[in-house]
């Protein structure tokens, strides 16, 4: 069994978000990059757990990004990926990224493709669905539990107003969120082993991006908090009703 895990890179949540060049570019100057938490904590760890139960499973990581992503790919290898493919291209267009991943997936004949629920920077929640469509595979979105049978997977996923347990024949694409697995920390052995695991860099297939970020904006600064005395909840209710008009 072969599992492909999509890994994306995002600014650490505590990074200060700023823009440059007249608000047309994200300012990466003081940004600490991390593996997108949904990829690291849930989909990657679940793949590793499956491999721990069945040693014949191989885990390939795929990432679309520049050479500055290599440290986060090495970290994912240290956690337990077997090998990685980096498609050497930078893009914030979902279709471009999904099409690159689909190209890699076509060459590898994977039984299972995992993505995270969404990236915490662009929050599209879309790569998994696009990859599935480009490969004509079923897609189980927003999984909260994932189990393998021999040729099928049993997946609990979030639907409108509840949960559903699905059975799907493999190959399939699954997007993972909280519940699927628990966060792990790489150990020394993993970090050492990661140094020699294969990280292949491939050039992108020519694909046209279909969207382009034209500008960014920071939300207007809050006017500042209005304090209400703890003894005067009538005043708070009045403010929420008459001033903020939210109740």
């Amino acid at each position: 069994m072969k599992i492909l895990v999509c890994i994306s890179k995002t600014p650490d949540t505590t990074s200060k978000i700023a823009f440059k060049e007249n608000n047309t570019k994200f300012d990466e100057a003081s940004v600490q990059w991390i593996i997108n938490p949904y990829d690291e904590w849930y989909s990657l760890v679940r793949a590793i757990e499956l491999k721990e139960k069945d040693a014949s499973i191989t885990i390939t990581l795929v990432h679309v990004g520049g050479a500055d992503s290599d440290p986060i790919i090495r970290k994912a290898l240290a956690l337990g990926g077997d090998e990685a493919v980096r498609i050497n291209a930078q893009s914030d267009d979902t279709y471009f990224v999904a099409a690159q991943i689909a190209e890699v997936a076509k060459q590898g004949n994977y039984d299972l493709i995992f993505t995270g629920k969404e990236t915490i920077d662009y929050n599209a929640s879309a790569i998994g669905g696009m990859v599935a469509e480009l490969l004509d595979l079923p897609y189980i979105s927003l999984a909260t539990k994932f189990e393998l049978n021999s040729t099928t997977a049993v997946v609990t996923r979030e639907i409108e107003g509840g949960e559903e347990v699905d059975e799907v024949a493999l190959p399939a694409v699954v997007s993972c969120q909280k519940g699927v697995a628990e966060q792990r920390i790489p150990n020394m052995r993993g970090i050492m082993a990661a140094r020699t695991k294969p990280l292949k860099v491939v050039e992108p297939t020519p694909i046209e991006a279909l969207t382009k970020i034209v500008s960014y904006e920071l939300p207007p600064a809050k006017a500042g908090v209005k304090m209400v005395p703890a003894t005067d909840m009538a005043e708070l209710v009045r403010l929420l009703h008459e001033e903020a008009r939210v109740i």
Binding site: Y122, M130, S141, E163
Partner: protein, 321 residues
């Protein structure tokens, strides 16, 4: 050329988030001078033609009960039939669970640029740029779609539902069914009788300051008085004081209600990442230095166990109950 809006249903009912997407699509069609049509799959409790009251001319209806469970591939085929029949140029979804599963497939199939999580109507004065929230609510991006066909998912609580009249829409049946769905749904558990967190206009949320699960009654009363959904911080879910589906934040659910009331939550940056798209935030905390006050619109310093019941009482007075 037209705008097509996918309107999803759960147990026959059309959800609020879908009606918001519907109104967004109708407003967009008016803005670019074209007609708006809707596509609905599965059995509806009311008449599909009634969607005309929101301003759509036609409703494409896939009536087969096989659509009552959502299979992303089967939905895609049916929506594609409606796209072709209506010659749609812009396809609009809600950025809800179904929209997240299906919109990317439609976009890939049509080679259409996708903006997921739009918070405003596109700016069509020079091209087609859609505003969306990025960096988990810390900024906005204006994203130009450059392909001829375009797909947008609309963030819940970003657009007002507007009924435009009492017209009925023309209903056209779709041929598609989900008979060959590759995904078999075994069990479905609906969260009963609660306001879904992502759709709620008001969210009442508790943190570690609540001290223990046995104290949640006062938050339930507050939520009840406001017809609000309940949420919690991550340590609260991790300690099993509350179910995981109530956990909001960077690693939980992202919400964007009109009003978020944070009770006994310190306001860590990872928590704020899930809630700072809320329009108005009220913070109740005994520590005047809690970081949450910096993000709040209204703050109350004091003991939540005294404050919350009084707040509930005042809300009941306002509502006359």
């Amino acid at each position: 050329m037209s705008v097509l809006i996918f309107v999803d249903q759960a147990e026959g009912q059309i959800r609020k988030a879908s009606l918001e997407a519907l109104s967004y699509g109708v407003a967009l069609a008016k803005q670019i001078g074209t007609t708006a049509n809707a596509v609905v799959l599965g059995n509806l409790a009311k008449n599909a033609a009634d969607l005309g009251s929101y301003g759509v001319s036609k409703v494409y209806h896939g009536e087969s009960d096989t659509f009552n469970t959502m299979d992303a591939q089967a939905y895609t085929n049916a929506i594609m039939e409606a796209v072709q029949k209506s010659n749609a140029e812009v396809i609009v979804f809600s950025h809800n669970q179904t929209g997240r599963a299906v919109a990317p497939r439609i976009a890939a199939k049509l080679k259409a640029g996708l903006v997921a999580g739009a918070v405003a109507l596109p700016d069509t004065s020079n091209g087609f740029a859609v505003r969306k929230s990025v960096f988990s609510g810390k900024a906005f991006a204006n994203v130009a779609i450059t392909s001829p066909v375009k797909v947008i998912t609309v963030n819940p609580n970003s657009f007002r539902i507007a009924e435009t009249g009492s017209e009925t829409a023309q209903v056209e049946k779709l041929d598609a069914t989900a008979d060959n769905a590759k995904v078999k749904a075994a069990t479905v558990n609906k969260v009963q009788g609660e306001v879904p967190l992502t759709e709620a206009e008001i969210v009442v949320s508790g943190g570690r300051g609540m001290k223990g699960p046995e104290n949640w009654g006062i938050l339930e009363d507050l939520a009840h008085s406001l017809h609000a959904a309940l949420a919690c911080s991550r340590p609260v879910a991790d300690a099993h004081w509350r179910p995981h589906h109530e956990h909001v934040g960077q690693t939980g659910i992202q919400v964007s209600p009109n009003l978020y009331i944070a009770v006994g939550i310190s306001g860590a940056i990872q928590h704020l990442a899930g809630v700072n798209r809320s329009k108005v935030m009220v913070v109740i905390n005994k520590d005047a230095e809690a970081p949450f006050f910096k993000a709040a619109d209204y703050g109350v310093v004091g003991d939540l166990f005294e404050i919350v019941p009084k707040l509930t009482e005042e809300i009941k007075k306002l509502k006359g109950v």
